[in-house]
């Protein structure tokens, strides 16, 4: 007789371990959630990561600054543009390089388009985890438009290597700007359609309203950042708090809600898409002419000895690069402080007492990308 499922009996509870293992339709990649279950209720949840650890930081210590560029967009491939250009901005600030005005505007447009495409993918996968397949395909339609626009100028759909120290590689033509404006107009018409299809759907509201409520001290305990933090009432965004590039020239507000549940995290990101759209429209309307590359860029990048830290706002939160240089051409150490590493560790205390169906909803609303956690 085969040994049936080991249902451990400790005291009065009959509990068993369930692995929402590395290969699971709704763990957004290769996360393994080890759940201690009593029936359907979760007693303890322990996320096990490391299944897509690719040694980015070790590679950073064997390459000079230029050669690490392709790695940056593969750390978090959904906001690849933001990471790539963030890394360039970090080294520019260390070297004190001046970037021409037009390149700054192009960077802003591409980063915000990338943020919208990352939120669209999150939107689709959250709905697919809750069982609704159709919104995934709708979001993917709009995402393909963004990928086309970015593909024309950067040459790749997902892992961009568009930024260089001192500017960007390719100039954008008017057709690119016109396509971007068309996309913004078409997407603004599509968002109300999403509204009726999903936000006003009573089943979706039941599945998300006050599910996975983050209590306040989690923000400080787990150093949460990004849309999760903004859904808890904190008005914190690196673009506004530590302005980099020319974000201070644009007026956009930081949406905050204080429900701190899955539904508010959902609304926050939808509102952020609106904000990013307005930034892109402002940037396209005010883009000046001029060169896209700084005139004098040193051949060999040799930053002065010392420790530097630079942070950007990626689609998932505060992405910081801690660069230690020992004066040579190869960085002594680049530590990548990724937002999802901290955000995911908060799952340990949030999932206690929820049900399996809620785990899927909460995990979807936290919006993690595994290689960004495992680096």
């Amino acid at each position: 007789m085969p040994e049936l499922i080991h249902v451990g009996r400790d005291e009065d509870r009959d509990t068993y371990y369930l692995n929402m293992g590395p290969q699971h339709p709704s763990t957004h990649g290769v996360l393994r959630l080890r759940l201690l279950l009593k029936g359907e209720e979760i007693l303890e949840a322990e996320p096990i990561v490391g299944y897509s650890h690719r040694a980015h930081e070790k590679m950073a210590e064997n390459r000079n600054y230029i050669q690490f560029l392709p790695n940056t967009s593969r750390i978090d491939y959904l906001s690849g543009m933001i990471y790539n250009i963030g890394y360039c901005q970090a080294v520019e600030r260390i070297l004190g390089l001046e970037v021409p005005e037009r390149a700054e505007y192009i960077r802003i447009i591409c980063c915000e388009l990338n943020r919208i495409s990352s939120h669209l993918l999150w939107y689709g996968t959250l709905l697919m985890d809750l069982g609704g397949f159709t919104p995934f395909l709708y979001c993917w339609d709009d995402r393909e438009n963004i990928l086309d626009i970015l593909d024309e100028v950067t040459g790749s759909r997902l892992t961009y290597c568009y930024g260089r120290f001192g500017g960007v590689t390719m100039d954008v033509n008017d057709e690119f700007l016109q396509n971007t404006l068309d996309f913004c107009k078409r997407f603004r018409e599509r968002l109300p359609e999403y509204e009726t299809l999903v936000t006003e759907n009573i089943i979706f509201q039941n599945r998300c309203k006050d599910v996975g409520v983050f209590d306040q001290e989690l923000a400080q305990d787990f150093a949460l950042t990004g849309p999760i933090l903004r859904a808890m009432g904190h008005k914190r965004d690196v673009r506004r708090d530590e302005p980099y590039g020319i974000y201070d020239k644009f007026d956009f507000d930081i949406p905050t809600l204080n429900g701190a549940d899955t539904f508010d995290r959902f609304l926050i990101r939808v509102e952020e898409m609106h904000q990013s759209l307005s930034i892109v429209e402002q940037a396209v309307s005010r883009i000046p002419d001029g060169p896209v590359m700084a005139p004098k860029v040193p051949r060999k990048i040799k930053p002065p000895k010392g420790e530097y830290y630079f942070a950007v706002e990626s689609a998932r939160g505060h992405f910081g690069m801690f660069i230690v240089s020992d004066g040579t051409e190869i960085p002594y150490r680049i530590h990548l402080r990724t937002p999802s590493f901290a955000n995911l560790s908060s799952l340990r205390s949030v999932l206690r007492g929820t049900m399996i169906a809620d785990t899927v909803a909460i995990l979807g609303s936290i919006d993690i990308v595994l290689p960004e956690i495992d680096r």
């Binding site: 904190h234 914190r236 530097y308 830290y309 560790s345």
Partner: protein
Amino acid sequence: MSTTLLDTLRQRVPELKTEDNTSTPAAGCTATHVCTTADIPAIAEVFKQAGYCLEMLTCLDMRADGGIFRLVYHFSRADVPDRHRFLADVEPGHEPPTAALLFESANWYEREVYDMYGVRFAGHPDMTRILTEEGADYHPLLKDFGVAHPTDEGNGNA
């Protein structure tokens, strides 16, 4: 940086050497402090009361020039942009006290530092590896581990 915070810090940790670098924006923090690992819990407690979060914790392998590991702590404030960097040196083999009891985020950070550098933290609830494969017996980010030949003559991804 509110002076009251600096004063409370100075009381708790008298021999704290502070270097203000609001003038150099590239450093990315308002002040860098050098302290010993023994008073990390005290510092963490001061910042926890003041509403700061432990944003980043990593380690540098300085055994080549000084024979020490250097732990880097970043405390950052939620609403006002204010970041403090703490550098604490650790002799190889010593176990610095953990900050995971005060800041939950330190739990995974310290596990990652252990996984990559082998620096164990005393009092950590679950001192195990987090990223490398099961049964890994090496600490990859140490400078002498599997050094790829220097990229000067190769093209980097040789």
